[in-house]
């Protein structure tokens, strides 16, 4: 249809909306339109290729019968892109030549909003970034705030162990969700139900402890918000006994199964050098064979006293990443066993009047307590000037929090280094030369959470 005919019929408005929705600037130009230098930088920079090698980037042989490549758009609303991720794929037949992820569809202005929220409220903001492991977001924010305050050495023992317990349980629930979505994306639809079944049990425990199933705002600067409820040990033991046999079920359903292996082995391969160059961390980096886990290499909380293994892959493919996450659930169970044995008594938050609000009962008795409560919750506590970067190991990789403070009660600049934001840069390199049907498997194995990608 010519443009004139379209105008005649009067659907001009709809088309212009659709056209305006097209974003050539943020989109993908066909490979034929790229200069050699641009191609070199796109691919060669990561692989540290020389100019001569990159000039032979036709390592994907061009089919002489098909001299045209197709650029197709996947997303942002798509059942298999783990949130609102948009991918522009340049295809030649079924082979993916190039891929460009376009993000920003969930940009929430959290970093800007964080500048107007006090440090007590900051947890509610930060927790919604990586909504699959909210406690880890809160943990890194609280640790950065405590470092600025200078109280990071004074957090009571019980608070530290509670933080570890919750962080590991969160790792388990996040990886269980990965199992579920990975299975569903690859066709093992029943896996969705099984993974959620286990996750519900962990969320039930979270609800008992923190009051919410997700986005808890429980780990706060100074400790945690409340003590563990009575009977928590039984609940955790129930989880630790229920989940391992179910993981065996997953092994039966997926790990040894030929279809699963065929779909994941050799798919989405990334080398160690590429991963480091791209800044990938977490299971992606570990799948290439590098044993880098911040819990062991730059320990925080009491991870240096815990006995656990760092699971490492060999081939850097999607199967390795799946197996790593499955076994990380087992390692987390091991860690939680150790925490159960060693959980100390004591305060669940630091008794520093400046930072911690007084217990609610005291407010009725003491005017000073009332004033303190009021000041902390309305004005917030002031954090001394400075800047700090703290990083921990979230289920997706290294999550870091950079806070610059100007001495007031709100952060001057709050920046969260989101692991998925950096890991998504691996997608083009993993998908090159693969089939378009494997694109879903690759995205799923990277396990991005768009909330933290876009913040």
């Amino acid at each position: 249809m010519t443009d004139r005919a379209i105008q005649d019929i009067g659907v001009q408005d709809i088309l212009s909306t659709i056209r305006e929705g097209n974003e050539p600037e943020q989109g993908l130009k066909p490979r034929s339109e790229l200069t050699a230098r641009e191609l070199l930088r796109e691919v060669g920079a990561v692989l540290r290729m020389s100019e001569a090698d990159a000039a032979k980037l036709g390592d994907i042989p061009l089919d002489p019968a098909e001299d045209q490549t197709m650029i197709i758009n996947m997303g942002p609303q798509h059942p298999s892109t783990h949130g609102v991720l948009r991918l522009m794929l340049e295809l030649q037949g079924e082979t993916v030549l190039r891929c460009k992820p376009i993000i920003g569809y969930l940009h929430t202005g959290m970093e800007k909003q964080g500048e107007n929220l006090t440090y007590m409220q900051g947890g509610t903001n930060v927790t919604r970034m990586d909504y699959l492991s909210p406690l880890n977001n809160e943990l890194v924010f609280s640790m950065a705030t405590e470092k600025l305050l200078g109280i990071d050495g004074d957090i009571p023992e019980r608070a530290v162990w509670m933080r570890m317990l919750l962080s590991e349980l969160n790792r388990m629930s996040s990886h269980l969700l990965f199992m579920a979505t990975n299975g569903m994306d690859l066709g093992a639809v029943g896996m969705m139900i099984y993974g959620w079944r286990e996750r519900e049990e962990v969320l039930r425990f979270f609800q008992k402890v923190t009051g919410l199933r997700m986005n808890h705002n429980f780990i706060r600067p100074g400790g945690v918000a409340a003590d563990l409820p009575a009977g928590w040990r039984d609940d955790v033991l129930y989880l630790l006994e229920m989940i391992p046999p179910r993981l065996e079920e997953y092994d039966t359903l997926m790990t040894g199964q030929p279809i699963w292996r065929d779909r994941l082995q050799g798919v989405g391969v990334i080398t160690q050098a590429e991963a480091i160059a791209l800044g990938a961390t977490g299971p992606i980096l570990r799948s290439t064979g590098l044993e880098w886990d911040l819990r062991r290499d730059q320990p925080y909380l009491h991870y240096d006293e815990m006995e656990f293994d760092v699971i490492v892959g060999t081939y850097g493919d999607a199967f390795d990443r799946y197996a790593i996450r499955l076994n990380e659930i087992r390692e987390s169970i091991r860690i939680v066993h150790q925490i159960l044995d060693r959980m100390p008594g004591g305060d669940y938050r630091i008794q520093n009047k400046k930072v911690t609000p007084p217990p609610r009962a005291r407010i009725d008795e003491s005017m000073e307590a009332l004033i303190h409560h009021f000041k902390i919750f309305t004005e917030g506590f002031k954090v001394p000037e400075g800047e700090v970067y703290v990083a921990i190991e979230s289920p997706r990789g290294e999550i870091g929090c950079y806070i610059a403070s100007d001495g007031s009660a709100t952060p001057y600049r709050l920046h969260v280094r989101a692991p998925s934001f950096v890991n998504i840069q691996c997608l083009p390199h993993m998908m090159r030369g693969g089939l378009v049907a494997d694109a879903v498997a690759v995205i799923s194995s990277v396990d991005p959470v768009l909330g933290e990608v876009d913040r």
Binding site: N116, G150, D297, R413, R417
Partner: protein
């Protein structure tokens, strides 16, 4: 590897005790973390040096707009500007981190790109461009990444308002004041 090798003029600071230096650049300590303060001209060279010195991963690249807090503390000899580009590097071999803070003036908000050294900085630099308006020379694709491409303004700058809609019956007095 980058082919930019601008000559860095290292002038000995006259008469004042020199701050501790590392690779010819003032070094400071921030809560136990090492922070380097190169000039814009010496930034790329410093990062090249650090890359050769086992800092193979760029963990984070971000920026801060110090418009409303110009009086922050910096080591002697570092001239504060409106923007700061903050780079966190990680050495996997030595299990160390180091931070770099480059001062970037508002009227000439351009910095060298780290893409050729750390391809993983591509998205981070795009985010800095989108949110602050700081350009990176020779970046392969300097377009907006989080905001729609026709958005005007750079949201994380301090003179860009949060954009709250005033809520009528709210006790958040600060927000109501800002909205007015």
């Amino acid at each position: 590897m980058s082919d930019v090798a601008e000559p860095e003029v290292v002038a000995p600071s006259p008469m004042m005790p020199e701050p501790p230096m590392m690779h010819g650049v003032p070094l400071s300590d921030s809560h136990g973390q090492r922070v380097l303060h190169p000039t814009r001209a010496g930034y790329l060279k410093l990062v090249c040096t650090l890359l050769d010195d086992t800092f193979t991963m760029c963990a984070d690249l971000t920026a801060v707009d110090y418009l409303t807090f110009p009086g922050r503390s910096l080591p002697d000899g570092v001239v504060p500007e409106r923007f700061e580009v903050v780079v966190n590097l990680l050495s996997i071999e030595r299990r160390e981190r180091i931070r770099i803070r480059v001062q970037v003036p508002a009227e000439d908000a351009v910095v060298a790109t780290l893409f050729d050294l750390y391809p993983g900085s591509e998205a981070m630099e795009r985010e800095v461009f989108d949110m602050f308006g700081i350009s990176f020379t020779d970046h392969p694709d300097l377009t907006r990444i989080l905001m729609p491409e026709d958005w005007e303004g750079h949201p994380l700058r301090k003179d860009y308002d949060q954009g709250c809609i005033p809520v009528q019956f709210s006790t958040d007095f600060a927000a109501r004041e800002r909205a007015q």
